[in-house]
């Protein structure tokens, strides 16, 4: 299953609903393009909803890191929502779990932006 992304706005926060696989190739490129497009349009409060992401490889992890740092460097904030166990475990072993701001409740995640 390839990756699908859709965006929606909730109280000034952009939520990117991701599903499928974030892997080398199409999935990683889609993620990169979407985040860059959001930032270029001034959307700097971003939540990546990964609840339906069933697979992620090292390239996908790299894209999450890139999205996080790119957003931060532009004065924005990017948070992760609804990690599956697989993604959660991957972020744990790569020590990235504490780097990202990870949420498991959408409403609370939206409210948490400054």
């Amino acid at each position: 299953m390839s990756m699908k992304l859709s965006t929606r706005q909730v109280d000034g926060v952009t939520i990117v609903d991701c599903s499928g696989r974030i892997t080398l190739g199409e999935g990683s490129v889609m993620m990169r393009d979407t985040v860059r497009d959001l930032l270029s349009k001034g959307n700097k409060k971003i939540i990546l909803n990964l609840g339906d992401v069933n697979y992620i490889d090292s390239s996908g992890i790299g894209e999450l890191v890139s999205a996080f740092t790119t957003t931060k460097n532009q004065g924005g904030e990017l948070k992760l929502l609804h990690l599956t166990k697989k993604v959660h475990d991957l972020l744990q072993i790569t020590k990235l779990y504490t780097v990202f701001d990870v949420k498991d409740d959408e409403a609370a995640a939206v409210k948490s932006f400054k």
Partner: protein, 147 residues
């Protein structure tokens, strides 16, 4: 699966997906648990990415050799490329604080995390990665495995 099987694959992104799919199928057939199947398939995917991108650099005349061999104790997976050979001393630790926010460099780390043994043999004619997953419990034809 047969006791051993080998594939010669092109240096393309499709190869990465195919390698992962073959690993998933073989590990499943051998009776590995679901989380172990995921670990094996991801390790193979990372190895294939390294072979296609960093080893062969997508060169159409260079191939990736992917081999699976199973014994009552182990699933042994070998991935060989035809590149210039990786320099093992240049691989940074992705868990070091200064590397944590790098966007690449986690492939070998994940392979080592998910497999029981990983041996990397670089040479001037390519790099060979040998990965072993020990058989536990009912895996590999239902035989009792070692630790």
């Amino acid at each position: 699966m047969e006791q051993s099987v080998s594939y010669t694959l092109d240096s393309t992104l499709d190869t990465v997906d195919h390698a992962e799919q073959k690993a998933t199928r073989i590990a499943t057939e051998l009776g590995f648990a679901e989380d172990e199947v995921m670990q094996i398939s991801m390790a193979v995917r990372e190895g294939a990415v390294n072979a296609v991108l960093h080893g062969n650099a997508y060169a159409p005349d260079k191939k990736v050799i992917l081999a699976f061999e199973h014994t009552p104790e182990n699933l042994v997976i070998t991935i060989r490329d035809q590149g210039k050979g990786i320099n093992l001393s240049n691989i940074p630790n992705p868990l070091a604080p200064e590397n944590l926010l790098k966007t690449s460099g986690r492939g070998i780390f994940l392979m080592r995390s998910f497999m029981d043994e990983v041996e990397i043999r670089p040479s001037q004619t390519g790099t060979e990665v040998k990965m072993i997953k020990h058989v536990h419990g009912a895996a590999a034809g239902g035989k009792e495995g070692s630790q």
